[in-house]
């Protein structure tokens, strides 16, 4: 096979066939489905969850992962936080002419490995090759389908006094990407937290009662994720600044660069809102899993009413301030 992707790889002819056979089918193992124009899958009973996401992260390879792994974890997590069990994924690739085939293979292998870890099958795909400069290396779109069981998430059930729990430290992905870009002279050991949380979250949902909300935190960080939740479900939440777990390296990088960890991207963290009676159990369960070791109680739902809908932060000097959506921070292509 050629060393670099050429426009001919996207023409639908011999080279396309070769690319699909040698790169995609070899890793994804979906030879059976690939013979048909559409993958055929069994109908799940009950409700299904569907989500789609496109990945344009820069750089493509970063400490803790690459665009391929991210394209699986991101979509899997979107399904998992609704309470669905992710079942199948599709993957669309937009590849820049001249992109090294070896890099593509690495990316595709990571996707396959992460899909296996998450227990999902990649059953359909598409490849397009565009002229040099039309995309930056490779962009990937994944669509995921999951089955919703008896227990699912209904944020409208949030109540005053509910506990707000985070599964771990915030801002790791944002700082990992920034240091991988090597533009800031920033050298850190921080790895992206990108991980599929579906097993952890499924366990949690099965073994506890009273879980009202699960949200994966991505672009915009913890603050933006919770502001949206507060507004959408007329809930007010108060977080305690000193309780929010932030790695020392992330805090240091933020101090130097003027970023706020509350607004930095995450790719393997979720917020769980649960009946306060179950909070200890949830934290215990999270902490016994490798993706929840640093789980902590970070705040409470303070009111549910038409007039609510605000996210507040209690500072170390016991004043409170309102948190708003991310605005004005120039950090593009983080996922």
């Amino acid at each position: 096979m050629a060393e670099r992707i050429s426009l001919a790889h996207g023409e639908g002819g011999e080279l396309t066939h070769q690319l699909i056979q040698e790169v995609f089918i070899q890793s994804f193992g979906h030879a059976e489905q690939a013979r048909l124009d559409a993958a055929v899958i069994p109908c799940f009973s009950g409700k299904m969850a569907v989500t789609t996401d496109s990945y344009v992260v820069d750089p493509l390879f970063f400490p803790g992962g690459n665009i391929g792994k991210l394209a699986v974890t991101g979509t899997v997590n979107d399904l998992a936080v609704t309470g669905a069990v992710p079942k199948v994924l599709t993957a669309g690739f937009m590849i820049e002419e001249g992109f090294p085939v070896s890099d593509l293979k690495k990316i595709v292998k990571s996707m396959a490995a992460e899909a296996e870890t998450a227990g999902v099958s990649i059953i359909a795909g598409d490849t397009k090759v565009v002229e040099r400069g039309s995309v930056d290396g490779v962009f990937i779109n994944t669509t995921g389908i999951g089955a919703i069981g008896e227990k699912y998430i209904n944020p409208a059930g949030m109540k005053k006094g509910d506990a707000v729990i985070i599964t771990g430290t915030i801002g790791d992905h944002g700082i990992a990407i920034l240091s991988a870009r090597q533009q800031l002279g920033l050298v850190t050991d921080v790895k992206s937290d990108c991980a599929s949380l579906n097993t952890l979250l499924h366990q949690l949902l099965q073994q506890t009662d009273g879980i009202r909300v699960m949200r994966d935190l991505t672009r915009g960080g913890l603050a933006t994720g919770l502001v949206e939740l507060c507004e959408d479900f007329s809930a007010s939440i108060e977080l305690k600044e000193t309780s929010i777990p932030v790695r020392e390296e992330v805090e240091g990088a933020c101090d130097i660069l003027g970023f706020d960890p509350l607004y930095l991207a995450n790719e393997g963290k979720a917020v769980i809102i649960v009946d306060s009676k179950e909070a200890d159990k949830v934290i215990h369960l999270l902490q016994s899993h490798k993706f929840g070791k640093n789980a902590r109680l970070i705040g409470l739902v303070t009111s549910i009413s038409e007039k609510a809908g605000k996210l507040k932060l209690k500072t170390p000097v016991n004043t409170t301030r309102r948190l708003t959506r991310l605005s004005g921070m120039v950090l593009p292509r983080i996922c």
Partner: protein
């Protein structure tokens, strides 16, 4: 090694805040009003707001944000000129991210970028040298805004361009100096002040001695302080003590990084490459000798000499950034604040700059 965590230690912060409040109460009993303290630096303004200290002390110390945000004090005509500059053919404009959303009379750099101008956000002026090397067929212009903290980095970029013999690199300088604007504020007498919290970063370059005039000419005290909660509060406490004892003079409470004479190397290169010039300040007007520009010898790196940009007549708005910069009003007293003017729809620079007073109040001091 310095244990930096101690400077944001929650318990220590709380206790110091209590001590400042108590000390301020004594002042209030004696004077019948709160002590009025100006924090000169925009990063101080942000840190006071974000840490919750400004809210905690609102009934004890009147903290007035000073003219220390470089983006905010940039004159409207200069911002319009930068936007026009970006629209020129064959130009790559490099800027700190803070400038991108600042509203000009008709547009912003971000809008110009969307419309096709080649504008790069960079973190260090030296990055623009690399861009100039990579694009020998383009003119690369760096928007050189900043106070004494940033000016040495601008000079370093010019030195690098000089060493590399670059002919396609230049800087659009609108630099500002701290001492002249403090003099202008004190001379105007518009705002009654009891003392200053002086900018830690600027002082690294200029040294403690650069504030001697505050004592000699105006008999007003000042404390040079850092940016962490404990440092801010320690600075305030020392300033209040001076007020109680009726002492003036400058205290250096940031001795880990600030010394008496400042950074000699930085001062030397600033002196070699730059010379004093009159600068326009938003809301204040022209202040004599309040900026630095490239000396004639380095005119080839001076974008203002290299490119002709027609001055525009600034659009009049109800924006009161100028009054806010001088400490005459607070953001909440501006009719536009959090109504017509928000970070995503800014009318003035104070709302978009990461050191802007309105941004500090919008992001960190709203409770509802």
């Amino acid at each position: 090694m310095l244990e930096t965590k101690i400077f944001s230690h929650p318990e220590l912060t709380r206790r110091l805040a209590d001590a400042v409040a108590k000390s301020a109460e004594t002042f209030i009993k004696r004077e019948g009003r709160m002590p009025a303290v100006m924090e000169v630096c925009g990063s101080h303004t942000m840190a006071f707001a974000k840490s919750g200290i400004k809210t905690r002390l609102r009934d004890y110390v009147r903290l007035i944000a000073g003219p220390g945000c470089p983006v905010c004090v940039t004159d409207q005509k200069a911002i319009d000129a930068m936007i026009r500059l970006s629209e020129k053919n064959n130009v790559i404009l490099c800027s700190f991210g803070d400038m991108m959303r600042v509203p000009g009379s008709g547009s912003s750099l971000l809008q110009a970028k969307t419309n096709g101008s080649d504008i790069r956000v960079i973190y260090s002026p030296s990055d623009s040298i690399q861009i100039a090397e990579d694009h020998p067929d383009k003119e690369v212009i760096f928007l050189g805004i900043g106070f004494e903290t940033t000016i040495p980095a601008l000079v370093a970029a010019v030195r690098e361009a000089e060493k590399k013999g670059l002919t396609n690199f230049s800087i659009w300088m609108t630099t500002k100096l701290v001492a002249p604007v403090l003099r202008a504020l004190l001379q105007s007498g518009e705002v009654e002040l009891d003392g200053f919290l002086l900018p830690g970063h600027v002082s690294i370059v200029t040294g403690k001695q650069s504030y001697r005039f505050l004592n000699d000419d105006y008999q007003i005290p000042g404390v040079i302080t850092g940016f962490e909660p404990v440092q801010l509060l320690s600075g305030l406490l020392k300033l209040l003590n001076q007020l109680h004892e009726g002492r003036t003079g400058i205290i250096n409470d940031y001795t880990y990084v600030v010394n008496e004479a400042g950074n000699f190397t930085a001062q030397h290169y600033m002196e070699t490459y730059l010379t004093r010039a009159d600068e326009e300040w938003r809301g204040i007007g022209e202040i004599r000798g309040s900026g630095l520009v490239l000396r004639e010898k380095y005119a080839r790196f001076d974008a203002k000499k290299k490119f002709n940009v027609l001055p525009a007549v600034p659009k009049k708005t109800k924006c009161r950034c100028g009054d806010i910069i001088r400490g005459v009003i607070t953001p909440e007293e501006c009719v536009l604040f959090n109504k017509a003017c928000t970070p995503s729809k800014p009318v003035g620079p104070c709302m978009v700059s990461s050191e802007g007073t309105c941004a500090a109040h919008y992001h960190f001091m709203r409770e509802d």
